[in-house]
């Protein structure tokens, strides 16, 4: 229960920061994708299911405000990203920061390419390499840089929650 409430507020705070503060620090009109970092982190830190729930909620938030009247598209995208990251739960070690960065970078790349195909290619905007150069690569770089900073924070929150859960379990048993 504590975990659910914490995650709920974490996602809402990230969403608010991303739509407000980060817009002021955009580089060349590109902002980092914090919600994807959170989704991806919980995917490989906690497994497929938690990744999915975090992704679903993050995506729904985007849908409600910026989905243009259609709910579910971003929810589905983030849901899948959370699930895919869950596959790497087995090779995840908290001390190592290199792997999470690779996961986040790949997730962001996949997310961007899916967005491009669904939202641009289907409207016959073919210049993939221009979009790659101007949007996708800068976003990945910026997101990775931000991951370096907030990964420890997310890990810390998760560790606190896990410690708390273990204590509760010990008390219960």
């Amino acid at each position: 229960m504590k975990r659910k409430i914490t995650l709920f507020f974490l996602i809402i705070i990230c969403f608010i920061l991303q739509t407000t503060c980060f817009q002021y620090v955009s580089l060349g009109g590109v902002v980092p994708n914090v919600l994807l970092i959170v989704t991806s982190c919980f995917g490989f830190m906690r497994g497929k299911k938690e990744g999915m729930y975090v992704g679903l909620f993050s995506g729904l938030l985007i849908d409600v405000f910026y989905g243009g009247g259609m709910l579910g598209l971003y929810a589905l995208l983030y849901l899948v990203m959370g699930y895919l990251n869950g596959f790497f739960h087995r090779v995840f070690y908290p001390e190592d920061i290199k792997l999470p960065i690779v996961f986040v970078a790949v997730s962001d790349g996949v997310y961007c390419i899916i967005s491009y195909v669904l939202l641009f290619l289907l409207r016959t905007k073919m210049e993939f390499f221009s979009y790659l150069k101007m949007i996708i690569l800068p976003e990945i770089v910026y997101t990775v840089l931000l991951t370096l900073i907030i990964y420890r924070l997310i890990l810390g929150i998760n560790n606190l929650l896990e410690k708390d859960e273990k204590e509760k379990e010990a008390k219960f048993a």
């Binding site: 739509t19 009247g69 939202l119």
Partner: protein, 286 residues
């Protein structure tokens, strides 16, 4: 501890089924919300009262900080240029008198086109920008006025004297605006000087340069040149006529040799937009 053991052994759904179920839910949600709005209406109501106040506050702090940072940067620049500028003052004074003459001419022209009258005739409401699209693909932003302030979808949005975009979604105390530089935006426009119609389309690849694309201009006699002003056209079904869009910055002949296309520099600075005006009049009154 038999009770605990029983609890541990409850059926756990494998995650691939959870994925399947949630995906189906998402797709169904997409279909349902695309065709009707009985789910999104209450959701937008709830979220409007939980998230919008925070965004309001943070945006205020953020814009305060970014103005302060800009101030510092500008101060340094201003000091460097100060001497240089002093020398230019005399020259500028002369230019100023020329500009005043130009201004009278401009006012005269505006009167001629009755642009001024048209603008002031519309009832407008000011709104603050409180959030921007979290992704990098579209240019959609959130304003702090909604249904309660009389805003509804398809209302035109201006900033200063130029067209910003159109309201696409409305909540109780918020609304989303799709700007004209957004990749999915299309505006029917006309050249002010000779009333030739064309379509202004946002383009993500040009967004960084602060430009938008125009196309479908029929202009056999090459009457339209760089610097011509574009306004929203009379035949648009969503945009009110005569709102300033921008100035043509380049014209090219299309491959079909019949139409022309090119780029437009919008009059609104989309990178720095804090306050917008929503025109509370709809083109299509049902």
């Amino acid at each position: 501890m038999p009770r605990v053991r029983v609890k541990r052994q409850r059926v756990v759904l494998p995650s691939k089924y959870v994925l399947l179920i949630l995906s189906v839910v998402c797709v169904l949600l997409m279909i349902v919300t695309y065709t009707t709005d009985f789910i999104s209406a209450p959701l937008s109501y709830v979220s409007g009262y939980t998230i919008v106040p925070f965004q309001n506050g943070i945006m205020e702090v953020g814009s305060y900080l970014s103005t302060r940072a800009d101030d510092l940067k500008q101060l340094r620049e201003v000091m460097e240029h100060n001497e240089q500028l002093q020398n230019e003052v005399d020259q500028l004074k002369i230019e100023n008198s020329n500009l005043i003459a130009d201004k009278y001419e401009l006012n005269e022209l505006r009167e001629l086109y009755q642009l001024d009258q048209k603008y002031s005739g519309y009832e407008k409401v000011g709104a603050r920008v409180i959030g921007k699209d979290p992704g990098n693909w579209f240019s959609v932003f959130l304003i702090d006025k909604g249904e309660e302030d009389g805003i509804c979808t398809d209302m035109n949005v201006m900033a200063g004297s130029g067209l910003v975009g159109i309201v696409t979604e409305v909540g109780p105390n918020w609304a989303t605006v799709r700007s004209i530089i957004d990749d999915s935006s299309n505006v029917s426009a006309q050249v002010l000087s000779n009333s030739k119609h064309l379509v202004v389309t946002g383009d993500l690849l040009l967004m960084e340069k602060g430009q938008i694309r125009f196309s479908q201009l029929v202009d056999d006699d090459s009457e339209v040149v760089e610097g011509d002003q574009l306004v929203t056209s009379d035949i648009s079904d969503k945009y009110l006529p005569g709102i300033n869009i921008g100035y043509i910055s380049s014209v090219e002949k299309d491959a079909n040799n019949l139409t022309k296309s090119g780029t437009v520099t919008p009059v609104v600075d989309f990178a720095r937009m804090d306050v917008v005006l929503v025109i509370k009049e709809l083109k299509n009154k049902e």
